[in-house]
């Protein structure tokens, strides 16, 4: 037995890490064996990302040690970790969109000829070999900006492997992928595992855990609270460990019988979707399922006036309206939580208060042209505590909140406007189990009080748990609207892929 094989790939021993004011990790020990997928689960803010940042050399632990194949190591930079074969694939992709796949993979390490020029042919040959190893059909010369998110992720993985990595860290790699693309990624991950690569895999999705992981560690409040071999663990047990309390299971929604709040009649946006007709009742959650690119998000943007419909019409409370900008939509009682929290939702750099109040600065919150600061603060404070937003205070910068709490702030921003029709695009993407359950309860509660909700989601369990009816889209058309009793994973997937 070689000395390398006698030791596990990576051992983390008694790691501690504190940031000013918070303890991020407390005495965390775990082991990653060769050729295994080790999943890390836990609520946002449980310490998963901090732990992985230590492994990848982004930050140093306050105490404890890392042993790589039996040898103690210290990484003072991601570069140092990379030199030891540890690569991290970030949640946010770090690729240069205007450069080619090959250039992106080998940037900084291009093969050069005697005069210092890049040997383009050699560069492409190496890229081709690398992509072949991953069984990917991507042209090395393709511009990265033209690839789908899924393909870009594959390019990231290829880049990590190009530096002979034997330990990969993946932070929620499937959060932007469709089901089919995720399957593809899992295939690649399993291949890598069989080649001896050890993988740390952070996820919020239960289904992925049991499909992929060999080992699971659960983190909560900076500690490892449990884990073990995936085959020995049960789903309910994991959730209990993660949350530290039992989750309330939502009762099935009562049938919605309210009047039609929002109706689309033959709505089209050229190039995105066409001839969309549906009715959304007060008190109803209409789930919208479909693959990414099926026109779901474009429909939401059109209903809210961001990209006004090119033909067809919209009715609110039975009368035809023309919504050509978000201001009009808001005036009609609409609200819209976008799918991309970071790009189109949060005002990063501004406080929780400033993020909450922005859509409601009108009416009795403004007097003589001045915003009534105390009244706005009080209203936002009530909203923050009603939604159980975890933050040290309203003046905290929003980027210091976890994803779930940021999402709650965005919901709060709209709830302050007392909307009657809510359009929610992926309301729980990248949100941990606990916050997810709370957001689900919140949505159900809103409809119980008469609001109408159009909810787009890529997670079928979410759609099935909440929706009164499910509308399925495929390539810009509605392929079916299912009553709750008729909707299940199979029937939805059939319509989504038809």
């Amino acid at each position: 037995m070689s000395p390398a094989a006698a030791h596990p790939l990576l051992e983390l021993r008694h790691l501690c890490k504190a940031f000013p004011g918070v303890t991020a990790l407390e005495d965390v020990s775990l082991t990653l064996a060769h050729a295994t997928v080790h999943a890390l689960v836990g609520e946002n803010g449980a310490g998963k990302s901090t732990l992985m940042k230590i492994v990848a050399g982004v930050c140093a632990p306050d105490a404890g040690e890392l042993r790589l194949e039996g040898h103690g190591v210290h990484f003072d930079s991601p570069r140092a970790a990379l030199a030891h074969g540890i690569a991290m694939i970030h949640q946010e992709l770090n690729l240069m969109p205007s450069m080619s796949v090959a250039e992106n993979i080998w940037i900084g390490r291009e093969p050069l000829n005697g005069c210092g020029f890049v040997r383009r042919r050699e560069l492409e040959r190496r890229t081709h070999a690398l992509l072949e190893r991953l069984a990917l059909d991507i042209d090395p010369r393709a511009e990265v900006g033209m690839l789908s998110i899924a393909m870009r992720q594959m390019v990231e993985i290829a880049r990590a492997l190009s530096s002979q990595s034997r330990l990969l860290i993946m932070d929620e790699p499937t959060s932007a992928l469709t089901e089919r693309e995720s399957e593809r990624l899992f295939g690649v991950i399993r291949d890598l595992r069989s080649q001896g690569v050890g993988i740390f895999y952070i996820t919020h999705r239960m289904e992925e855990l049991f499909a992929l992981a060999d080992e699971i560690s659960v983190l909560r409040d900076g500690r490892r609270v449990g884990g073990g071999r995936a085959c020995d663990l049960r789903r309910e047990e994991l959730i209990r460990l993660m949350v530290g309390r039992e989750l309330e299971v939502l009762p099935p929604p009562p049938p919605a019988a309210g009047p039609v709040a929002l109706a689309a009649r033959g709505l089209s946006v050229a190039g995105a979707f066409r001839d969309v007709t549906f009715e959304l009742h007060a008190g109803e959650i209409l789930g919208v399922a479909g693959l990414v690119g099926s026109g779901r998000s474009a429909l939401a943007a059109a209903l809210f006036g961001l990209t006004p419909a090119t033909s067809g019409r919209m009715e609110i409370d039975g009368s035809a309206v023309r919504v050509d900008c978000p201001g009009t939509a808001i005036a009609h009682g609409l609200a819209y939580v976008t799918e991309d929290r970071k790009d189109t939702g949060c005002f990063l750099g501004l406080s929780v208060l400033e993020n909450l109040e922005i859509a409601v600065l009108r009416g009795d919150l403004v007097r003589f042209g001045l915003v009534r600061g105390a009244a706005a603060r009080a209203a936002c404070g009530r909203m923050a505590s009603a939604l159980r937003i975890k933050t040290p205070g309203l003046d905290e910068h929003i980027e210091n909140l976890s994803g779930g709490n940021q999402q709650k702030v965005l919901l709060g921003r709209w709830l302050l406007t007392h909307p009657r029709i809510l359009i929610l695009d992926e309301p729980t993407r990248g949100v941990d189990v606990g916050a997810k359950a709370e957001i689900h309860q919140l949505i159900a509660g809103l409809t119980a009080r008469g609001a109408a909700v159009l909810m787009i989601s890529s997670e079928l369990p979410e759609i099935l748990a909440l929706s009164h009816r499910v509308m399925v889209m495929h390539e810009g058309r509605i392929t079916g609207i299912l009553e709750r009793a008729a909707a299940d994973q199979l029937s939805i997937m059939e319509l989504a892929a038809s």
Partner: protein, 342 residues
């Protein structure tokens, strides 16, 4: 990283948590440090006090008031994530137009021989209108065509300078009325600077206009989705910046008792420097009027201090450049340290 669920402070109880130091505290320290350094150097090299001289301090503030007024507008533009390069040229154009309407009957070569000895409000309003119009052009170009603010305002910068020269074919406009000249004398520009600063400090912190300005700079698309008419708002912000440049042009020509097409050269860069030293971020979403006022004073102290030490003007510019960069580097470092907890 566990944090408590947010709870409203119970009524009647004061918020116990000490308020954070305002972000201007750091830059204020820099101002004091620079002033003290000059004080020390003053005693060593010229055997005088730098600070214990009321007249010098008044002149110092007077010199930077015009830059300060421009910087207040530029700060708002920078908060939206934009930039305004046209300020200096707009100063020249408004100085020309305002001066041409402020000539007294003593003028030998009047621009408008039939319009002499007009009441002082006429040239002032004309100057403000020209400034606002230039800003309106900036804002409309940016909002309607979507070209980067750098390009739009660069174009207006070149055009406005050209218009200023064309207006009198390069001739200076002189022999202005006493009432007009009074606007630029004494502490009038200082008072206008401070009043403008106060007005826009309140506007930025406590009105919808201000909140929308920050929101647009922090995330333009999110601002649009939140119901803010981004294009229209940008037009307003750039128009205000132009109006303030116009005000600066009026004061400049009043102080010089003439209008010249070469006025306001490089003022835009000093104004941007003042805003950036004061903590405004060119990435948008960050910046405060109080910071900009302190940034303006830093520029003033440096200029005044070097003159006081009788150091060549060449060295002044070299050091000024270094101070601008150092202030921004220091600020970024401070921010990063504060953000490390996240």
């Amino acid at each position: 990283m566990h944090q408590a669920v947010f709870r409203e402070p119970t009524a009647g109880r004061r918020r116990t948590r000490a308020r954070r130091l305002p972000s201007e505290a750091g830059i204020l320290l820099v101002l004091l440090a620079i002033a003290l350094a000059f004080e020390l150097l003053g005693w060593i090299f010229v055997h005088q006090s730098f600070l214990m001289n009321g007249q010098r301090l008044v002149i110092m503030i007077l010199q930077v008031s015009v830059i300060g007024i421009i910087a207040i507008g530029v700060t708002q533009v920078i908060i939206t994530g934009g930039i305004d390069l046209s300020s200096g040229s707009v100063v020249a154009l408004t100085a020309m137009v305002a001066a041409s309407l402020a000539q007294s009957s003593d003028a030998l070569r009047a621009v408008y021989p039939s319009l002499l000895d007009l009441p002082v409000v006429v040239p002032v309003l004309a100057g403000l209108a020209v400034g606002a119009a230039a800003g309106l052009v900036n804002g409309s170009l940016i909002a309607a065509t979507g070209i980067p603010p750098f390009i739009a305002t660069l174009g207006v910068m070149v055009t406005a300078r050209g218009l200023a020269k064309w207006y009198t074919h390069g001739q200076p406009v002189s022999m202005l009325t006493d009432a007009y000249a009074a606007l630029g004398s004494g502490a009038v520009p200082v008072a206008i600077f401070l009043a403008t600063a106060l007005l826009f400090h309140v506007a930025l912190r406590h009105t919808r206009y201000g909140k929308y300005t920050y929101a647009i700079g922090a995330n333009r698309e999110a601002a649009r989705i939140s119901g803010i008419r981004v294009g229209r708002h940008l037009v307003v912000v750039y128009t205000i910046a132009g109006l303030l440049s116009g005000l600066a042009g009026v004061l400049t020509s009043a102080r010089a008792v003439s209008g010249q097409a070469g006025m306001g050269m490089m003022y835009e860069l000093d104004a941007i420097a003042a805003a950036v030293i004061g903590g405004a971020s060119l990435a948008g979403g960050v910046g405060r009027i109080t910071g900009t006022v302190i940034g303006t004073l830093i520029l003033g102290v440096v200029t005044s201090g070097f003159t006081f030490l009788r150091i060549d003007a060449y060295y002044q510019e070299i050091v000024k450049g270094a101070i601008i960069v150092a202030a921004v580097v220091a600020d970024q470092y401070r921010r990063r340290r504060r953000g490390a907890a996240s």
